[in-house]
C-alpha cells in the first residue's frame, strides 16, 4: 500500500526566542504567535497531504511549565488531525519531559498516542484495515537523560514499516546537549526502517536508507544562531509498501532568521553602506518566500567607512535608518542587530614599526595576545566592576572578553580613539 507520513520535531511551542534584542510591537506580535502558527500549518499540511500518521519527536513545548496557549493550541491541532482520521504519535524530550511541569490537557483525542517514559512502546498504524506501520517510541522522564535510549529499540514482526521515534543526540553534536547520546551504529542495530529523530535543530539526513535516520530540524527558528536560520519545517515521507522514499522537506516556519555580512572595503560612505544592506535585505526577503525575516548583519572589512562607524551612536543611527525603511506589517524585514566587526583602516604592521605611542600600544597588545594567561589576568583585573553574580544571572553567559574577537575589538578601539579626532 502506498501512503505517506509526516515527521516533525522540536516544535518548542510558545518559544520565547533567544538572542533577540528589543523589537517593536508588530514584530513582537509576530514572534509571539510564530511557533503556534507554524504548528497550525503543520496540521493543515498533514490534512492536505492526507498523511496516514504524524510523528512528533520531542520538545513539543519549550519548557516544563508548558504555557497554556501552547498546550491548548497543541490540543486543537490534535483534534483536527483526529477528526481527519490521522493518527498522531508523540514523544517528549528534554525541554518537556513527562515527569515535570503541569498539563492543562487532561485527555487526548482519539488516535493520539503520547509515549510514556518507562519503556519503549509500540503502536500499530492501520489504514483501510491494513497494517502499514509500527511506531516505537519512548519519552524523556526528566530533562537530563544520559542513557542511550536507542539501545532499547527492537524491530517487531508486524507487517509494514518500523518507525523509531526518538529524541536524541546522534553522533555527539556539540551544539546540543548530550542527551540520549547514541551513534549511527546504535540506530542501525535497532532494526528500524526509519528513525524519526528530534533534538538537533539543524535539518540533516544522517543515513539515507537502511535505515533512514533523519533530523527534520525544528519547526520554527528560535534565535539568530546559525542552526536556527534558514527554512524550518517538517518532512513528508512517501512509503510504498516497505520502500521509503527520500523525505520531502516542507517549510512551515512563519518568521525566518537570516544573517548577512556587508564588507565595507569598497564603500565610500554610510549611505552606500545603507544601500548595500538594503540590497542584502531584499535578497533575504525573496529567499524567505513571503515570510517575515529577522535579519542580523555583520559589518566586516576595513575601509574609510570604519571611521564613520566608530563615531558614538553611528551604528545605532544606521540601524534606526534601516528600521525606518521597513513596512510595519507582515511579511516584514526586521533588522535585529548590526554588529560592527570592521577594522580601522590602519596599517598595523607599519604602526608597530613606527615607534610612536600607537606603535607602543600595539606592541603591548601583541604581548598580551601572545600570553593568554597574562591577558586573562589583565582582563580580570580591569573588568571586576561588571563581574557580579546578579549581572551574570540577568545578562546570561557572555563570551570571554579575552577571547580573540572581543580583545581585538578593544585594541582597535584604543587605536582608533588615539589616532582619530572623535570621542
Amino acid at each position: 500500500m502506498r501512503f505517506r507520513f509526516l515527521h516533525a520535531a522540536d516544535l518548542h511551542l510558545d518559544t520565547p526566542f533567544e538572542g533577540i534584542r528589543r523589537v517593536e510591537p508588530f514584530v513582537a506580535d509576530a514572534l509571539r504567535d510564530a511557533s503556534l502558527r507554524a504548528f497550525e500549518s503543520l496540521v493543515s499540511l498533514a490534512i492536505a497531504r492526507e498523511v496516514a500518521f504524524v510523528v512528533l519527536a520531542g520538545d513539543i513545548y519549550d519548557g516544563p511549565e508548558r504555557g497554556v496557549r501552547a498546550q491548548l493550541t497543541f490540543r486543537r491541532g490534535l483534534d483536527r488531525l483526529s477528526d481527519a482520521g490521522i493518527a498522531t504519535l508523540v514523544v517528549h524530550g528534554n525541554h518537556d519531559p513527562v515527569e515535570t511541569g503541569w498539563s492543562a490537557v487532561r485527555s487526548w483525542p482519539a488516535g493520539v498516542t503520547v509515549f510514556g517514559a518507562g519503556e519503549v512502546a509500540t503502536v500499530p498504524v492501520e489504514r483501510d484495515g491494513e497494517m502499514i506501520a509500527s511506531v516505537h517510541g519512548i519519552s524523556y522522564p526528566t530533562r537530563a537523560v544520559t542513557e542511550n535510549l536507542a539501545l532499547r529499540f527492537a524491530r517487531g514482526d508486524a507487517p509494514g514499516i518500523q518507525v523509531g521515534l526518538l529524541h536524541a543526540n546522534v553522533g555527539a553534536n556539540p551544539q546540543h546537549d548530550p542527551y540520549s547520546p547514541c551513534t549511527l551504529d546504535d540506530l542501525r542495530a535497532g532494526g528500524m526502517d526509519y528513525w524519526a529523530l528530534g533534538h538537533v535543530h539543524a535539518r540533516q539526513v544522517l543515513s539515507q536508507g537502511d535505515p533512514w535516520a533523519v533530523y527534520p530540524g525544528n519547526l520554527q527558528g528560535r534565535s539568530p544562531k546559525a542552526s536556527e536560520r534558514g527554512p524550518k519545517g517538517a518532512l513528508v515521507v512517501e512509503v510504498d509498501g516497505t520502500t521509503i522514499a527520500a523525505p520531502e522537506f516542507v517549510p512551515l516556519d512563519r518568521v525566518r532568521f537570516a544573517y548577512v555580512e556587508a564588507d565595507i572595503a569598497d564603500l565610500a560612505d554610510l549611505p552606500e553602506l545603507q544601500e548595500l544592506l538594503t540590497e542584502l535585505a531584499l535578497r533575504e526577503t525573496r529567499a524567505a518566500e513571503g515570510r517575515s525575516v529577522l535579519l542580523r548583519a555583520a559589518l566586516v572589512g576595513a575601509g574609510p567607512v570604519a571611521d564613520d562607524l566608530r563615531r558614538p551612536g553611528a551604528v545605532a543611527e544606521l540601524l534606526g535608518a534601516l528600521r525606518d525603511g521597513v513596512r510595519r506589517e507582515e511579511p516584514f524585514v526586521w533588522w535585529e542587530h548590526l554588529a560592527d566587526l570592521t577594522r580601522p583602516a590602519l596599517d598595523l604592521d607599519a604602526l608597530r614599526r613606527r615607534g610612536d605611542f600607537p606603535g607602543e600600544l600595539l606592541l603591548l597588545a601583541d604581548d598580551l595576545s601572545a600570553d593568554p594567561e597574562r591577558l586573562h589576568a589583565f582582563a580580570e583585573q580591569h573588568l571586576a566592576a561588571v563581574a557580579t553574580p546578579t549581572l551574570d544571572r540577568l545578562a546570561g553567559p557572555l563570551e570571554d572578553p579575552a577571547e580573540p574577537m572581543p580583545w581585538r575589538q578593544a585594541v582597535d578601539l584604543a587605536l582608533t580613539t588615539l589616532v582619530t579626532d572623535d570621542g
Binding site: 528589543r22 549581572l391 557572555l398
Partner: protein, 1063 residues
C-alpha cells in the same frame, strides 16, 4: 633617513627645479613671503607620504608654471641613496633603491620609518602656527600642550583618548549612577522578570481555576436536583388538594345513585327521544300552516293582474312603427333642411341670372359651354400683362439713371482735361530736380568763390605789405599795429563762413550782410600795413634774406589763390547760365531762382494730380457708357415683352367673342358670374330631388301609423310630430300589456308551487304524530304527563351517573394511569387534606432557599469559567519572555561595550604608564639639556611630576609651566619636541626635522638661544629650516658655517626658473 635633494617637475610656483647635495646637518631655505617655502614643505610631504586626497581640506598646489604635478625626492640612509618619485594623479609612488632596482611601497615605508604624514607632522615638523597657537590657549591648556608634546599621540594625546573612553564608559556604568545604561537595564530586566514570573504564575493557576470551575458546576447540579425534588413535592400536594373536591363529589353521587329505584324500559335516551318526537310533531304542524298561508297569497296576486287583448293584436305593428320613428324624425328633419336649402339656392341663382341679363335663365346657364373660356385663362393673361408692364417700367427707370450717370462722368472728364492744359508750361520733375541741384551747387560755389577771393585779397595785401616792409622800402600809406591786420583777416574769414552758412540755411539777407561786412574788413586789412622794424647794421643782411624768402612764398600763395578764384568764377558762370541767371549772379538772384523752382515744383505736382484725376474720370465715363448700353438692351426687351402679352389678349377676345373693349378683368367678371350661376344650378337640382323623396317616405309612414292607432282604439289621426307622439304612446301601452301578461304567468306558477308544498307539509305532520304515539306506547305511557314522570326518574339516575363518571374522568385526566397514579389515588382515598397542605408549605419554603443558593453557584461558576478562558487566551508569558530576552540582549551588549571600552582604556593607560616610565625620562633628559642651553642655564631641568611638568632652576626651585613666560614656554615646548624627536630617532628611523620659521617671534636673545638648540639638534639630526628672515640665516650660519642656504625669490606664476644661489 635624510633628504639629499629634490627635483620638482611642477608644484605650485615651482617648475623644473632641482636641488641636490643637501648636507646631513642643517639646511636653511630663505625666501620672502610667497616665495614657496610652504609649497616646498608640502611637496616634500606629498612625495614622501602621499599627496592629500582632494576631499581633504588641504591646499592643492597645482603647477602654476607648467610641468607634471609632482616630482622626486632624493634620500639616503644606511643602505645608500634612494629616490622617491610621485606625481599627483599618477600610477602611484615609484621608489628607486640604492642598487637601482625599483622598490615597493614596503620599501618606501621602511625608508620613512613607517611614519605617515600625520606622524611626520607631529613628530618631525615644527611650524610657527603651533607656536603661535600657544598664545591662544589658557594656562592650563598651555601646560597640557607642552606636556602632551612629549607624548607620542598621533593627532591626540593619550590622556585625551583615555578621557574620551572614560566618558563613554560612564554612560554605561559608573558608581552610584542609576541612570547609566547597565544599572538602568538591570532594573528594567528585574522588573520584566517579575512580570514574567507573575504571568507564569497566573498561567500555572490554570489547573486550580479549572478545578474551581468544575466544583461550582457540580454544586450547581446538586442544587438543581434538590430544587426539582422540592418542586415535585409541591406539585404532588397541590394535585391532591386540587383533586379532592372531585373525588369527594364522586363518592357522594355514588351513594345517591345507589339509593334510587331502577326504572325499566327507558333507555338512557328516552327523555331525549320524548322531547325530539314532541318537537317534530309541533314543527311539522307549524310548517303545514305556513304552506297554507303561501297558497292563499299566491292566489290573491294572480287575481290582481288582467291584460288587454287589443294591444296584443297590434303589438308587432306598433313595435315596427316605433322602431322607424327615429328614422322618420331624421327624414322629416332632412326634408325641412332640403326645402330650406332649395329656397336659398333659387334666390342666389336668380341674382346671378339678373347680373348676366334678362335673357339668361336656368336653361341657358345650363347649356353654356365652360370650355370656351375659363377664368383661369383670363387671369393668366391678366397676370402676364401686368408683370410685363412692371418689368418694363423698372428697366426704364434704371436706364434713365444710368444715362444721367454717364453724362456726369463725361463732363467731369472734360473739366479735368481742361485743367491739365493750363500746366503745359510747367517743367517736369526731372528738370525741377536738376534745377534744384544747380541752385545748391551755385550757392556752394559762390561761397567758395567768396572765400577764395577773400583769401586771395588777403594774400595779396600781405604780399604788398611784405614788399613795402622790405628793408629800405618806403612806408606804406597807412600803418597799424602788427596784430591788427591778422585780426581783420581772421574776422573777414569768419564772416565769409557765416555768409555761406546763412545762404545754405536759406537766409539770404543774413548771408549777404555777412559777406559784405567781411569784404569791407578784408579791404581794410589790405589798405593798412603793419609797422616795420628799422634795418641797421649786419643784422639787416640776414633779415633781408629772410624777408625775401617770405616774399617769394607770399607771391606763390597769391598766385595760387588767384588761380582758385578764377576757377570758381568760371564755375559760377556756367551754373548761372544753366539756371538762366546772369553770369555773376548775386545771392538775391540765386534765391529768386530757388523760389521759382519751388513754385514750379508745386505746379508740377498739382498738374500731375489733376492728370491722374482726369484719367480716373475718363475711365469712369467709359464704364458708365458701357453700362448704359447694357441697360438700353434690357429696356428694349422689356418693351417688346409687354407688347406681345397685350397682342395675345386681343387675339383671345377675338377668338372667344369676348367684347373687344373688355379688359381681362372685365372679362373675368362675366365669366365669374357664369360660373357662379352654373355652380348654383348644380347644387339646387339634387336638393330638390332629395326633398321630393323624403316627402314621399314620411307620408307613407304616417298613413300606416294612423291605421294601427285605429285598430288599437285610438281615435286621433295625428300627423307630423303628433304621429311620433301617438306611436310612442301606443308602443308604451303595448309594452306594458306584455309585462302584465308575463307577471300573471309567474303568479300562476307560484300558486301551483304553493299547493304542492302544502300537500307535503301535511304528510310530514301526519308522520310525526304517528311516531310520537308509538313512543308513548313504548314507554308505557298513555299520555304526555305519564311519560314525563317516568322520564324524570330516569334523568336523575343519569345525572348521578354523570357526576360519578365526571369525577373519575377529571381525576384520571389529572393523574393519568400507572403505578404512580394508583399511588396517588390511594393517597387521595386517605383524605388527609391538612397533611397535604402542610407538606406543600414546607416544600415551598425549601425552594426559596435552594434557588438562592443556585443563583450564587451560577455566578461563581461563571467567574471561574471566565478566569480559565482568560488564562487560555493570554499571551502574557510569551510577551514577557520576549521582552526579557530583548532586555537581556541589550544588557549583554552594554556589558560587552563596557568591557571593550574598559580594556581599551586599560591598554591606553598601561601604554601611557610604560611610556612615562620608560620613554618619557629620556625625552625629558634631552629636553632638559636643550632647555638649559637655550635659557643659558637659568632653568636646569624639566621633570614630570604627578602627570604634569615642572621646571627647576639652577637653585633647584620648581616652577610650573604656567608660571613661565610665554616666550619661555615656547622655548620649553620646542625643547620637548626636540627631545621627543631625538628619543623617537633612537628607537625608530629618524626623519629630517623640518622647521618653518620657528624663531621669528622670539626676541634676539631667545632666538639666539633657540638657534643654539637647533644647531645642537643638527649635530645628530638633519634639520631643514625655512625662514624669511635673513638675520635668522646669519645666526645659524654663524653658529654652523657648513649650513647650506637656499634662497627662494618671490615668485609669480609668470616668473622664470628659480635662480639657485649657493652659499
Amino acid at each position: 633617513m635624510r633628504i639629499v635633494g629634490w627635483h620638482i617637475d611642477g608644484f605650485g610656483v615651482f617648475s623644473d627645479i632641482t636641488v641636490r647635495d643637501l648636507p646631513p646637518d642643517l639646511t636653511v631655505v630663505i625666501g620672502p613671503n610667497e616665495a614657496g617655502k610652504s609649497t616646498l614643505l608640502a611637496f616634500l610631504r606629498g612625495v614622501l607620504f602621499g599627496f592629500p586626497d582632494r576631499r581633504a581640506r588641504e591646499r592643492d598646489y597645482p603647477p602654476l608654471n607648467g610641468g607634471r604635478p609632482g616630482g622626486r625626492v632624493f634620500l639616503t640612509d644606511d643602505d645608500g641613496p634612494a629616490t622617491v618619485e610621485r606625481h599627483r594623479g599618477g600610477r602611484g609612488v615609484r621608489v628607486t633603491l640604492p642598487d637601482g632596482r625599483e622598490g615597493s611601497a614596503a620599501d618606501l615605508a621602511r625608508l620613512v620609518g613607517y611614519a605617515d604624514a600625520e606622524v611626520f607632522r607631529n613628530l618631525f615638523a615644527f611650524s610657527l602656527t603651533e607656536l603661535e597657537s600657544l598664545h591662544t590657549l589658557d594656562t592650563a591648556a598651555v601646560r597640557d600642550r607642552i606636556f602632551t608634546a612629549g607624548v607620542l599621540g598621533a593627532g591626540r594625546s593619550a590622556r585625551h583618548a583615555v578621557a574620551a573612553l572614560d566618558r563613554r564608559r560612564d554612560q554605561l556604568l559608573r558608581p552610584r549612577a542609576t541612570s547609566a545604561a547597565i544599572p538602568r537595564l538591570t532594573a528594567e530586566l528585574k522588573a520584566v522578570d517579575s512580570q514574567l514570573a507573575e504571568a507564569k504564575r497566573v498561567a500555572q493557576d490554570h489547573p486550580r481555576a479549572k478545578a474551581e470551575e468544575r466544583r461550582w458546576s457540580e454544586e450547581l447540579d446538586r442544587l438543581s436536583h434538590e430544587i426539582a425534588d422540592r418542586r415535585e413535592t409541591v406539585r404532588r400536594a397541590t394535585t391532591l388538594l386540587d383533586l379532592w373536591p372531585d373525588f369527594d363529589d364522586g363518592a357522594e353521587a355514588r351513594r345517591q345513585l345507589d339509593s334510587l329505584a331502577d326504572v325499566e324500559g327507558l333507555g338512557e335516551d328516552a327523555e331525549t327521544q320524548f322531547g325530539r318526537l314532541r318537537g317534530e310533531v309541533a314543527s311539522a304542524a307549524a310548517g303545514r300552516d305556513e304552506r297554507a298561508a303561501e297558497l292563499a297569497a299566491a292566489e290573491r296576486r294572480l287575481a290582481g293582474v288582467q291584460p288587454d287583448d287589443r294591444l296584443a293584436a297590434v303589438g308587432p305593428q306598433t313595435r315596427s312603427l316605433y322602431a322607424e320613428l327615429s328614422a322618420h324624425a331624421g327624414r322629416r328633419s332632412r326634408l325641412a333642411a332640403a326645402e330650406q336649402s332649395a329656397v336659398e339656392l333659387r334666390t342666389r341663382l336668380d341674382e346671378e341670372l339678373a347680373r348676366l341679363g334678362a335673357d339668361w335663365d336656368r336653361t341657358r346657364v345650363a347649356s353654356f359651354d365652360p370650355s370656351i373660356v375659363t377664368s383661369e385663362r383670363v387671369r393668366a393673361h391678366e397676370t402676364r400683362i401686368e408683370r410685363a408692364a412692371e418689368r418694363r417700367a423698372l428697366v426704364d427707370e434704371e436706364f434713365e439713371a444710368a444715362q444721367a450717370e454717364a453724362n456726369a462722368r463725361v463732363q467731369e472728364a472734360r473739366r479735368l482735361a481742361d485743367q491739365i492744359s493750363r500746366y503745359a508750361a510747367v517743367p517736369d520733375l526731372a528738370a525741377l530736380d536738376q534745377a534744384d541741384g544747380g541752385v545748391r551747387r551755385l550757392r556752394s560755389t559762390l561761397s567758395d568763390q567768396a572765400t577764395a577771393i577773400a583769401g586771395a585779397q588777403i594774400a595779396q595785401r600781405a604780399l604788398t605789405d611784405l614788399r613795402a616792409a622790405m628793408p629800405g622800402n618806403a612806408a606804406p600809406v597807412l600803418a597799424m599795429p602788427n596784430w591788427l591786420r591778422p585780426a581783420l583777416y581772421a574776422l573777414a574769414v569768419v564772416l565769409g563762413g557765416g555768409a555761406v552758412a546763412a545762404g545754405v540755411a536759406g537766409q539770404p539777407v543774413v548771408a549777404v550782410s555777412a559777406a559784405a561786412l567781411g569784404i569791407v574788413l578784408l579791404l581794410l586789412g589790405l589798405v593798412l600795413r603793419p609797422q616795420s622794424m628799422p634795418s641797421a647794421g649786419p643784422w639787416a643782411v640776414n633779415n633781408r634774406q629772410r624777408h625775401q624768402e617770405r616774399l617769394s612764398e607770399a607771391e606763390a600763395d597769391v598766385a595760387e589763390r588767384l588761380r582758385v578764384s578764377a576757377t570758381l568764377t568760371e564755375q559760377v558762370r556756367v551754373l548761372a547760365t544753366a539756371l538762366d541767371l546772369p553770369p555773376a549772379p548775386t545771392p538775391v538772384d540765386v534765391e529768386e531762382r530757388d523760389a521759382l523752382a519751388d513754385r514750379q515744383r508745386a505746379a508740377r505736382m498739382e498738374s500731375d494730380r489733376v492728370a491722374a484725376a482726369a484719367g480716373v474720370a475718363r475711365a469712369a465715363a467709359e464704364r458708365a457708357a458701357q453700362e448704359l448700353e447694357i441697360l438700353r438692351e434690357r429696356t428694349d426687351e422689356a418693351h417688346a415683352e409687354e407688347r406681345e402679352a397685350r397682342a395675345e389678349w386681343v387675339d383671345v377676345k377675338a377668338e372667344h367673342g369676348i367684347p373687344a373693349g373688355l379688359s381681362p378683368r372685365a372679362a373675368l367678371d362675366v365669366v365669374g358670374a357664369m360660373e357662379r350661376a352654373r355652380g348654383l344650378l348644380r347644387q339646387l337640382e339634387p336638393v330638390e330631388r332629395e326633398a321630393e323623396g323624403l316627402h314621399k317616405v314620411t307620408g307613407e309612414l304616417e298613413r300606416r301609423a294612423a291605421e294601427v292607432l285605429a285598430r288599437a282604439g285610438v281615435d286621433a289621426e295625428p300627423a307630423g310630430a303628433d304621429v311620433v307622439r301617438a306611436v310612442t304612446l301606443l308602443h308604451e301601452r303595448v309594452t306594458l300589456d306584455e309585462a302584465v301578461r308575463r307577471e300573471r304567468a309567474l303568479y300562476a306558477a307560484d300558486r301551483d308551487t304553493a299547493r304542492g308544498r302544502l300537500a307535503s307539509a301535511q304528510q310530514r305532520t301526519d308522520a310525526a304524530q304517528a311516531s310520537f304515539d308509538a313512543f308513548l306506547r313504548a314507554v308505557g305511557a298513555s299520555d304526555d304527563d305519564e311519560a314525563r314522570s317516568r322520564l324524570s326518574s330516569s334523568r336523575r339516575r343519569v345525572q348521578l351517573s354523570e357526576r360519578v363518571r365526571g369525577a373519575r374522568d377529571r381525576i384520571t385526566a389529572r393523574v393519568g394511569s400507572g403505578p404512580q397514579a394508583d399511588a396517588l389515588l390511594d393517597e387521595l382515598r386517605g383524605g388527609d387534606v391538612a397533611g397535604w397542605r402542610a407538606r406543600r408549605a414546607e416544600a415551598e419554603a425549601d425552594l426559596v432557599r435552594l434557588e438562592g443558593q443556585r443563583e450564587e453557584a451560577v455566578r461563581r461558576q461563571h467567574d471561574a469559567a471566565n478566569l480559565v478562558a482568560s488564562i487560555e487566551r493570554s499571551g502574557e508569558v510569551a510577551r514577557a519572555a520576549l521582552d526579557r530576552e530583548g532586555l537581556r540582549q541589550q544588557l549583554a551588549d552594554a556589558i560587552r561595550d563596557w568591557r571593550k571600552l574598559t580594556l581599551a582604556r586599560a591598554l591606553l593607560g598601561e601604554t601611557l604608564r610604560r611610556y612615562e616610565s620608560e620613554r618619557q625620562p629620556a625625552v625629558m633628559a634631552r629636553a632638559s639639556a636643550l632647555f638649559s642651553s637655550v635659557t643659558e642655564s637659568r632653568y636646569e631641568q624639566v621633570v614630570v611630576v604627578d602627570g604634569g611638568l615642572e621646571v627647576l632652576d639652577r637653585s633647584g626651585a620648581r616652577f610650573d609651566t604656567a608660571d613661565l613666560s610665554r616666550g619661555t614656554a615656547e622655548q620649553l615646548y620646542l625643547c620637548i619636541r626636540f627631545g621627543l624627536a631625538a628619543e623617537f630617532a633612537a628607537h625608530a628611523t629618524p626623519l629630517p626635522l623640518v622647521m618653518d620659521d620657528v624663531l621669528v617671534n622670539f626676541d634676539p636673545e631667545r632666538a639666539r638661544g633657540m638657534a643654539v638648540a637647533i644647531n645642537a639638534v643638527a649635530d645628530e639630526h638633519q634639520v631643514l629650516l625655512f625662514t624669511c628672515h635673513p638675520h635668522v640665516v646669519e645666526l645659524l650660519v654663524q653658529l654652523r658655517p657648513s649650513t647650506r642656504v637656499i634662497e627662494l625669490a618671490r615668485r609669480s606664476p609668470t616668473n622664470g626658473p628659480l635662480p639657485e644661489v649657493v652659499a
